[in-house]
């Protein structure tokens, strides 16, 4: 060991090779490296075990590219008119809107009981666990499950989307409410206000903007979900047209037109919700 300059070297850590260490493997670094390693190994294993069914990857990729070219460069409507297309888009937006707005109203009420600063802890925790359970089920499964009772169609789609929306919004709303300054609630309570007074005079006014932003964010998600429900669960709207154009008519030009339409709405919604989010949801 080199101890000539002992005053400089006594607290320098060395590797087994005798070289000076400069990193420090704390828990956070170990967990990060571990996570990345595990994900990489799992991905490699996944690639090795997928059921590829003897697909010709190059041919399929080329075909897809040709399709994409046709879609985006020669987008056109063939099997229905522009007016109909607008109507179908309206239908999809309508599905998303209803699921969002009804969901938001229900969520607001439930969130008041799920926020730990307004509600007893056992109750809040029960709701949060229950909500996590609902959220874990994919929306499409909820739609299918409702469809058994209500039949496939807009009712089942809206109810299924509604359930998922409530599960998402209750969590988001409750967290916004919990961020509220504890002093405000305390001051009102001290002045003799009851629970409902606290809610209507302090909680709702001061969290309103962030609740609205979350709701809009969910509207954006629900639009995509509504497209999916149209394609997969027979909920109608532009998603169903997309499914027909690609799966039945094999009409790539029409698929292109529909994709453009969906893209346009989605980009608009995203733009609005990003602006709302920037203004009202403060990232911690």
């Amino acid at each position: 060991m080199d101890t000539v300059k002992s005053s400089v070297t006594f607290d320098i850590r060395t590797k087994p090779s005798g070289k000076i260490k400069i990193t420090n493997w704390n828990k956070s670094k170990v967990v990060m490296t571990g996570t990345l390693l595990v994900l990489t190994l799992l991905s490699m294993y996944g690639f090795l075990t997928f059921d590829y069914k003897e697909i010709n990857l190059i041919q399929a990729t080329l075909d897809t590219l040709a399709n994409l070219k046709l879609m985006f460069l020669q987008a056109n409507l063939n099997n229905f008119t522009l007016a109909e297309a607008i109507y179908q888009i309206g239908l999809t937006v309508g599905l998303a809107f209803l699921a969002t707005i009804i969901g938001a109203v229900i969520s607001l009420f439930i969130a008041l009981f799920a926020a730990k600063n307004l509600s007893p802890k056992p109750l809040a925790n029960t709701i949060i666990i229950f909500i996590a359970f609902i959220r874990a089920v994919p929306t499409v499964l909820w739609v299918f499950i409702f469809a058994i009772a209500a039949g496939l169609g807009s009712e089942a789609a809206i109810l299924g989307m509604l359930l998922h929306t409530v599960a998402f919004l209750v969590k988001a709303f409750a967290e916004s409410i919990e961020e509220l300054d504890a002093g405000v609630i305390e001051a009102l309570r001290a002045s003799g206000a009851n629970w409902w007074h606290v809610v209507t005079n302090a909680v709702i006014p001061s969290t309103m903007t962030s609740l609205l932003s979350w709701t809009f964010l969910r509207f954006e998600t629900n639009f995509t979900v509504a497209v999916a429900m149209g394609a997969v669960a027979g909920a109608g709207g532009i998603g169903f047209e997309l499914f027909m154009a690609s799966g039945f008519y094999f009409d790539m030009k029409e698929v292109g037109f529909i994709t453009y339409a969906i893209l346009l709405i989605a980009v608009m919604l995203e733009f609005m919700s990003t602006r709302l989010k920037k203004r009202y949801i403060v990232k911690s």
Binding site: S28, V31, T35, L36, L39, T40, L42, S43, Y45, G46, F47, F50, D51, Y52, K53, I55, L57, A60, T61, D63, T64, N67, L68, M71, Y87, V93, G94, L95, F97, L98, I101, A132, F133, A136, V137, P138, T139, V140, L141, I145, F146, I148, A149, G153, S154, E155, I158, L159, T224, V227, A228, A231, V232, G239, F243, S246, F250, T259, I262, A266
Partner: protein
């Protein structure tokens, strides 16, 4: 003066509420949704679920095959997420204001991200289905493209928000682009990025169920199969197994986030 502001706020709110009401009404008309019928069918649906969505002993016999499909879905979502995250990182480095190479690539990266994330995953699945057929790769690419769009956006935001100052410091020491990226940007951003990757794995399990219904792969296919043959006991077993997987992944992710963030 103050009363005016108050009044203005109140009027704004009334107008806002009226617009929302109007839109609700139009939406209900458009979608043929009846509130009464809709809401009244909820208890009925739950009653039906209570009596029919039971997991019986027979349905457990399907467990091995369900597990098989479930594992396929989990691997699909992990594989799509990790591969997408690598490309997303490259795009985000090009797209971020802090690490961009030039304005053209930055705009291009943001454009690609926007297109990929705003075309719904079902659309990708349907398009890919035409040439890839009912195949694990169809699902993989659909998830990959949608994930790429989302992760590029959040990675770009992460780089913009967290690494500005240390990038400047390293540049001023004479470090070159690759050194700045590997020694300042990645160490600063990786916890946030890993957190987003975990979020995406979780989301993709749900998305791949949806995609699986279309592409005939994974747990989505199993669900569709038993749903269509009206074997609701197995349907509920499948649903429950998805819930277990999603919640487990959520719990693991939450633990990891607590440690690294």
């Amino acid at each position: 003066m103050k009363i005016d502001v108050y009044r203005k706020k109140k009027r704004q709110f009334t107008i806002f509420a009226l617009i929302v009401l109007c839109m609700t009404f139009i939406s209900a008309k458009l979608t043929n949704f009846s509130f009464v019928q809709g809401i009244s069918s909820v208890p009925e649906a739950f009653r039906w679920m209570g009596s029919n969505l039971l997991i019986t002993r027979e349905s457990f016999e399907k467990m091995p095959s369900i597990l098989d499909k479930l594992i396929e879905t989990i691997f699909l979502s992990i594989t799509a997420t990790t591969t997408a995250s690598i490309i997303a990182l490259l795009l985000a480095l090009l797209g971020s204001q802090t690490t961009k190479v030039n304005g053209f690539f930055s705009t291009l990266s943001r454009f690609i991200a926007s297109v990929f994330r705003n075309i719904p995953i079902v659309a990708w699945a349907l398009i890919l289905l035409l040439s890839f057929g009912q195949n694990a790769l169809t699902g993989y690419f659909a998830l990959f493209l949608a994930t790429l769009g989302f992760l590029t956006r959040v990675f770009t935001e992460t780089i913009d928000e967290t690494s500005n100052s240390s990038v400047e410091a390293l540049q001023s020491t004479g470090a070159n682009y690759y050194q700045v990226v590997s020694k300042a940007v990645l160490p600063e951003c990786s916890p946030q990025m890993i957190s987003w990757i975990l979020f995406m794995v979780e989301t993709n399990i749900r998305s791949s169920t949806l995609v699986g219904i279309l592409t005939g792969t994974g747990i989505g296919f199993a669900f569709d199969l038993y749903y269509k043959s009206m074997n609701y006991n197995v349907v509920s077993l499948i649903t429950l197994s998805i819930v277990v997987v999603v919640i487990s992944i959520e719990l693991i992710s939450n633990y990891i986030r607590r440690v690294i963030l």
